[in-house]
Amino acid sequence: MTDTVDQRALTRGQLLSAYRMMRTIREFEERVHAEFATGEIPGFVHLYAGEEASAVGVCRNLDDRDTIASTHRGHGHCIAKGVDIGEMMAEIYGRKTGSCHGKGGSMHIADLSKGMLGANGIVGGGPPLICGTALAAKIKGTGGVSVAFFGDGASNQGTTLESMNLASVWNLPAIFVAENNGYAETTSSTWSVASDNIADRAAGFGMPGVVVDGFDFFAVHEAASEAIARAREGGGPTLLEMKFTRYFGHFEGDQQTYRADEVEHARAELDCLRRFAARTTETGELTRSDLDAIDAEVAAMIDRAVTEAKAAPPPAEADLLTDVYVRY
């Protein structure tokens, strides 16, 4: 509360880095969308485009002490927490050079060295994990905070609700980020979520619940910064609900017969990158050429990641039984 204006404002470097992160996620996802159509990528992919402000606005407040757990729609969270782009792309292509040596694929990208506990094919699988890492941080006194991203579908899962209860009872440095993109696969959250605002459920667990415009980087960053600072200081868990839309289907190949014009509307009127660019150039904090330069660098980086992934070898037969068991 005693921060001065200058301390709270984001520096030019922080703004550039936030834009680079959001642009990287967008470019990554647009490219995977295009490449998936060629049939070269095995398995399923669930794309995060449209939701970038959430991953980046939250993770810009985190450091090496902190951990995150993700969802089946995990690419954005991985990138925002610093997982290597080349290794991610290789993992999606099922190559030996991937983050999990090509044996996990899109839904299991993990990098514990970056505090990224993993994308997760289990809906509601992340929240229990962060109760564990948050408890560890609390007991060790590292000052670390753990964040679980989950969707509106997972907000109805017992695992999520139990985790929020546990986090509150144990007063854990845990942040629950409900990414409400309107649909659990194809089921509208206005139908399936009885409380309608997921944030409202926080009251039942004795923690604050806040609804945030998930398309607005500045709104997300500010809310997450308050919640994370509070958790670090021993103030306990918070539930943040991001409201937005995903730009692609539930998975690549989803015909999306359950929705009409909302994606066009969101891309034209609400898009986080457009709004960020418009706002920061209007204030003079950044220039169009700053942003154009980042766009070009990011496009080249993603292009390189795709080329290298395609050229990399798949896991060999001998790799079948490695990494299956862990010795403690």
Partner: protein
Amino acid sequence: MGEAIVGVVANPLSGRDIRRLTTRASVFPTAEKANMIQRMLTAFGAVGVHRVLLSTDLGGISAAVFRATGQRRAQDGRWPEVEFLNGQPIRQTAQDTVDAVRRMVAAGVRVIICLGGDGTARVTASAAGDVPMLALSTGTNNAFPAVREATIAGLAAGLVATGAVPADGVVTRAKVLEVRVGDRAETALIDVAVSAQRHVGARAVWDPATLTQLFCAFAEPDVIGLSSILGQLSPVARHEPHGVTARLAPEAAAQVLAPIAPGLVMPVGVREIERMRPGSVHRVDARAGVIAVDGERELTFEPGERPTVRLRADGPRCVDISAVLAASARLGLLRRPSPAPGPVPVARTDR
């Protein structure tokens, strides 16, 4: 005098912003908003309102009322006909409130009740024109809406809508502050604050050190929000014609302890308190920043834009709940048997 129609608009997102986190502001559950509307419907039915137009939302309020309309039992008393304003896209922004209020005005409602905080009241007022409004608190910062029982508010709105209580003396015109930044304009019902922050961000204002200037349509000593800064130093009542403005600076010699938001009592430095006359135009000093209307960051401005603030006397017409029910007592409108023939058809008198 034609059909007695009341419009009810409820904001599904009021009471959900970052102030739950920063200051432990109250949570207003969706179920309670829906219950309040149902209690109002009972009051409307009792005083002879014919029809109610209700806003629709994706937050579950209109859905809960819709379910309740199908579950009424004979002994529950008469409700007016409820018409749900559906058929328009719901964007989950303030525009939904504007659209609903415009449809209510076009349909000839006699009173509009809005459920929300200061933000919802401000948006409703901007679209209500000359239709009297009654703002009921279900939000965070409630300087403008009344914290009153919905049944009582429903009786008051119903008595005005049916014409049983004439509007003269019970409906008063509020002041309004008009902010202009280039070709953009906003209105505020209570206060306009200039902040040195650069972005709208999470909207709420909770750090007074960022504020440089404050304009108040009224500043009452017992009201929550930014107007409380001047409420203790230079009070101005809602019914007085003038307003008040000041410059704010953390290092100012004059300091006041002010409840600037629910859960926040902060020292604020104040200098150069000045009266605002209706119609006079005041300039914003800062070169760039954000303007908050009724406590929420809304408009950004850049060097060269020179925003202005003007106090206007022609704000929304507001129903005074206490005055309506006092008039009703004087006229004996709720006595049974009714002392005078009135335009009030009553459904039930036996309970």
